[in-house]
């Protein structure tokens, strides 16, 4: 992010920011980067950006966050959602990013991975990881 990120009125009002806010129903500017969401997330070792960093990048209109691994390592456990002091439901932001990526045609669940798992896992995975 060191050399790509430029703050501007345009970036903050980018359609991307509005789309994520609309899909997630969250007020992204409420986040003040305390990092509590990341501190409680058990999946950060598999994320290339911490949950609060994902939030920051969306706030700044940085669409490259759609290529981040974080939303795909997120298990929708809602630990962040119940802990955010500002009432931001980060799990919903992660879901919005997954959906935007999936709706742009990024395939994420490999059908070959589905062998040997029970129905409850399959239904959950297909609902979360396919468009």
């Amino acid at each position: 992010m060191a050399d790509g990120l430029r703050l501007s009125r345009e970036a903050l009002a980018a359609p991307f920011v509005g789309k994520v806010e609309e899909l997630s129903g969250q007020n992204l500017s409420a986040c003040y980067q305390c990092g509590k969401c990341a501190a409680g997330c058990l999946f950060t070792e598999h994320m290339d950006a911490l949950p609060n960093q994902v939030l920051r990048r969306v706030q700044l209109g940085d669409e490259s966050v759609l290529a981040a691994s974080a939303p795909w390592a997120c298990a929708s456990c809602l630990a962040c959602a119940v802990r955010c002091p500002k009432g931001v439901d980060v799990a919903r932001v992660m879901e919005a990013l997954r959906l935007l990526a999936l709706r742009r045609g990024l395939p994420h669940l490999d059908p070959r991975a589905t062998a040997g798992v029970p129905q409850i896992a399959l239904v959950g995975a297909y609902r979360k990881l396919t468009p």
């Binding site: 899909l23 058990l42 959602a81 992660m94 029970p118 609902r127």
Partner: protein, 287 residues
């Protein structure tokens, strides 16, 4: 017999069949008859977290209509995931008449859902309908000496407004296990996620979570993990590492049935442990 409308969900007819059978037997011993919804469909397993996904609520709401059509206003689930999904959808549509009418219009072949069905989980039923003391008084095979770790996972306690108990410090599972005579092994991972559906595409991530959960339960003295979630159960068994402590995993309904003297359908590892631990089991020739 108290008749309680019951939504099974897919797992109870397949991988968690033993949980269902045990829970039915246990609840019968407590004077509750589970009445399966005449027709039911998948709840969707995971609750949609997006704002433009009204379609995802059609499945859950259709099940709530079945309950309403039975002339009832509550429905029981044994599965923690069904509980979360159905209960959240019920709240979601009840909170907004506009959403509700759009969903009703979509399902024109059904009666309109009026928004009054409450979704219960087995733990809530044991606390609020049966009562801890009453439950304890019905125990004939106390789980004395069994150190059980109550593993809530996610959907029983989060989000706060649908949880069966406080999301950070829940106690209903502990209270139920104590009523059954078990010793409760408190462990810090009891409300932490096992990785859930990531088990399909990213089993290694789940293996890491399961390793920590099992190790923490063992380090805190548990010799058994108890769950009500078939996905947690699958992950705890199928994704556990080959090395380290191997704690047996049992469903809440199975321990309940055991303690109440009903057919518990326990998995062999858990049954052996309980047989070998409890004095009542060692003395009696039951089962």
């Amino acid at each position: 017999m108290k008749r309680i409308p019951y939504f099974p969900g897919c797992a109870m007819k397949d991988q968690a069949r033993d949980y269902e059978r045990a829970a039915q037997a246990a609840l019968a011993a407590l004077g509750c008859e589970l009445v399966e919804l005449p027709r039911w469909n998948c709840c969707g397993t995971v609750y949609s977290l997006a704002n433009d996904d009204l379609m995802r609520h059609v499945g859950p709401v259709r099940n709530l209509i079945r309950v309403q059509d039975m002339g009832e206003d509550r429905v029981l689930t044994l599965c923690a995931m069904c509980y979360g999904t159905l209960r959240r959808s019920a709240r979601f549509v009840a909170a907004d008449p506009e959403r509700l009418s759009r969903i009703n219009a979509f399902m024109s072949d059904e009666h309109d859902y009026r928004g009054g069905v409450e979704v219960l989980h087995l733990l809530g039923l044991l606390r609020d309908v049966v009562g801890y003391e009453n439950l304890a008084s019905k125990v004939v095979r106390p789980l004395t000496g069994v150190r059980a770790a109550p593993y809530y996972g996610c959907t029983l306690v989060r989000p706060r407004e649908v949880g069966v108990d406080n999301p950070d410090q829940p106690e209903v599972f502990e209270r139920v296990l104590s009523a059954l005579g078990a010793e409760v092994a408190e462990f810090p991972y009891k409300v932490e996620c096992c990785g859930a559906y990531l088990t399909v595409g990213a089993p290694a991530i789940v293996a890491g979570r399961v390793r920590d959960i099992v190790a923490s339960a063992a380090a805190n003295g548990a010799d058994l993990i108890v769950t009500s979630c078939p996905l947690c159960q699958f992950n705890l068994e199928a994704r556990r590492p080959g090395i380290g402590p191997r704690l047996p995993v049992a469903y809440l309904g199975q321990l309940l049935a055991w303690a109440l003297g009903a057919d518990a359908c326990l998995p062999p590892e858990a049954e052996a442990l309980i047989q070998g631990t409890t004095p009542a089991a060692a003395g009696a020739q039951q089962r």
